[in-house]
């Protein structure tokens, strides 16, 4: 029974595929998996948008949307209908083809990332050896779509937003990769399925998640920072800063294309959360050995949604960074810390079992964190602003 609940989607797929002739079964299985992903993640997108609007409202002592349906839970449906029926305006001078392709490309690429994420036990669409590499290749190409959108719109705000986005995403791609490399070093594999499997072990009922090691915790923090920047979420939402750039790279988008951008942004958030869960939080494995009877996919989705809640919480708390602060933070703090983290992970590996490696590794990380935070991030130029040319 428990086994069946855990594998319910696999069994369902096999049952449906069983009606087809043998030659078609593999292809039909893949198509069904794709349909599953395309159905589930936009549903999660709707839930997280609602959660964000309600949660942010509460953080600002507002009520949030509460008109459509009981407690406003039907708000995403109303939003979807609205965006579908709105007029699709394309600027006269825009590059029409690129303008059209940009949102489509964004959503396609965002969905591609989910193909390699292990959603549950045996539940992964394509199990390739270098799935982490594939994921990052897909994640990095969202930049292309953002630049396509900004460039094709023929709008200064769009272009500025796209420039900012590209600068930011390239800067934060480095720490994102480096903080994930730690996991590859520890596991010895680029396969996400294998990474989850190595974390799915328990001593005294406690899991072997990567976050429960000094390098794993540091890596997770750096991954979270870089992931937030990579998905253009507040406080790193400079590319779409409403106060200075109207809406950034999607200023000239309306109607369903705008909705696609919105979907792409949230899908990026969900997939970054999914990867973070897979790498650091044990993927689909239960947080306690005693809770192993709960279906694995429930654990995966609850961890992803928990990450989304943290994303929303951070958005409700922090103001937007300035461009120079953003770059300083990436290149002077996060990247050195991830480099150090690589060294610490290697140290951990070669110091062998025992309490000594805990002490050495954590004290090294904390020491550098404190020193770098005190010196590197000090606001040296804080004071009255000086104007070089205008006086």
């Amino acid at each position: 029974m428990i086994e069946k609940a855990d594998q319910i989607f696999i069994l369902l797929r096999n049952w449906i595929v069983g009606f087809l002739p043998a030659g078609w079964q593999t292809a039909a299985g893949v198509v069904l998996g794709v349909i599953g992903i395309i159905a589930v993640f936009p549903a999660l997108f709707a839930i997280s948008v609602l959660l964000e609007r309600k949660g942010l409202g509460r953080m600002q002592n507002r009520l949030g949307p509460n008109r459509v349906g009981p407690f406003g839970i039907l708000q995403p449906i109303a939003d979807a209908i609205k965006s579908l029926t709105k007029e699709d305006v394309v600027p006269l001078n825009a590059d029409r083809i690129v303008h059209f392709l940009a949102p489509v490309y964004l959503v396609v690429v965002a969905f591609m990332g989910f193909a390699v994420l292990p959603i549950g036990r045996n539940m992964v669409l394509v199990d390739i050896d270098a799935s982490l590499l594939f994921y990052f290749a897909m994640g990095a190409s969202t930049e292309v779509s953002i630049f396509m959108a900004g460039w094709s719109s023929r709008n200064k705000y769009s272009l500025l937003g796209a420039m900012r986005a590209v600068a930011q995403m390239i800067s934060y791609e480095v720490p994102l990769l480096m903080s994930s490399v730690v996991i590859v070093m520890a596991t010895g594999s680029l396969s996400l399925v294998k990474i989850v499997e190595t974390q799915n072990q328990y001593t005294w009922g406690l899991p072997h998640w990567n976050i429960f090691t000094p390098w794993g915790l540091a890596g997770f923090v750096m991954y979270a920072i870089a992931g937030t920047a990579e998905t253009n979420r507040s406080p790193f939402d400079l590319p779409e800063g409403e106060s200075e750039l109207v809406a950034g790279y999607f200023t000239e988008y309306s109607g369903f294309k705008f909705a696609l951008f919105f979907l792409g942004e949230y899908l990026g958030m969900l997939s970054i959360s999914g990867l973070g869960t897979t790498l650091f939080l044990g993927g689909w494995s239960a947080p306690l050995a005693a809770l192993n009877w709960v279906p694995s996919w429930i654990w995966f989705f609850s961890k992803v949604m928990l990450s989304i809640v943290v994303f929303i919480w951070v958005r409700g708390t922090l103001p937007r960074l300035r461009q120079d602060q953003l770059m300083n933070f990436a290149w002077k703090f996060v990247i050195p810390m991830t480099l150090l983290n690589l060294f610490v992970a290697a140290l951990w590996r070669f110091m062998g079992e025992g309490w000594l490696r805990w002490v050495v590794c954590s004290s090294l990380l904390i020491l550098v964190y404190v020193v770098a935070g005190r010196t590197g991030m000090r606001r040296k130029n804080f004071g009255p602003r000086s104007y070089r040319y205008a006086e």
Binding site: N61, L318, A372
Partner: protein, 218 residues
């Protein structure tokens, strides 16, 4: 240490989040159609015509002098004078507006019509839910729709309405005093002429209040 401020901020928002479910005082939102914030007394949205008594046509203060129509910057008032006359609040016969229309979509709520009105006939309303599905008729308010009682005026702007009432009562008293004085003077004159100008000081005394009444008329 780096990140301390972020943690402090996160705890603050978490406190707000949890607190908004516990204490109702935190939520400042007034859910509009169901509940309403009380309007401040000085609220002004759109003009209306004041009438005294219970009959809006008989008690209409407006005398169709058309000053407001001329002063209105966006020209949203349209007045047509009546052919006949009706008594105003002091009993003097005045013409009244046969048509008095204001276009809501044009009015800019500047209150200039109220400022220029010498008869305290047009005042600002606090009614703001004027949206309609009738694009032409619904936005052009006729005099019946514009007419609102003095009691209503008291209920929305009590201080201002009390001042206006005091002023009108004073004027009415003045007019009545003048009428009385005129009547007295006429009576005195009548008696004086009847007595065939025998007593000179009596005629002198009678001329004084009449002079005062002349002044007030100017």
């Amino acid at each position: 240490m780096l990140g301390e401020g972020i943690l402090k901020g996160l705890s603050e928002t978490a406190k707000n989040f949890a607190g908004s479910f516990v204490s109702k005082e935190r939520l400042t939102t007034v859910e509009y159609p169901e509940e309403r914030a009380p309007l401040p007394e000085a609220t002004r949205v759109f003009p209306f015509l004041v009438y005294d008594g219970s009959d809006w046509q008989a008690g209409m203060r407006c005398v169709a002098c058309q000053i407001c129509e001329k002063e209105c910057p966006p020209k949203c008032i349209y007045i047509e004078k009546s052919k006949d006359k009706k008594p105003d609040y002091v009993g003097k016969m005045q013409i009244y507006p046969a048509r008095f229309e204001i276009d809501v979509s044009v009015c800019m709520s500047c209150q200039i019509c109220v400022e220029v009105c010498p008869f305290e006939a047009i005042k600002m309303d606090s009614e703001f839910e004027l949206s309609t599905d009738d694009r032409f008729g619904g936005l052009l308010h006729d005099r019946k729709r514009l007419a609102k009682s003095n009691e209503y005026y008291h209920s929305i702007h009590p201080t201002e309405a009390a001042e206006v009432d005091a002023r009108l009562a004073e004027e009415k008293a003045k007019v009545e005093a003048k009428a009385k004085a005129a009547a007295e003077a006429a009576a005195a004159k009548a008696t004086a002429s009847a007595k065939a100008a025998e007593v000179a000081p009596a005629a002198n005394a009678a001329s004084k209040p009449a002079g005062g009444a002349e002044e007030s008329k100017a």
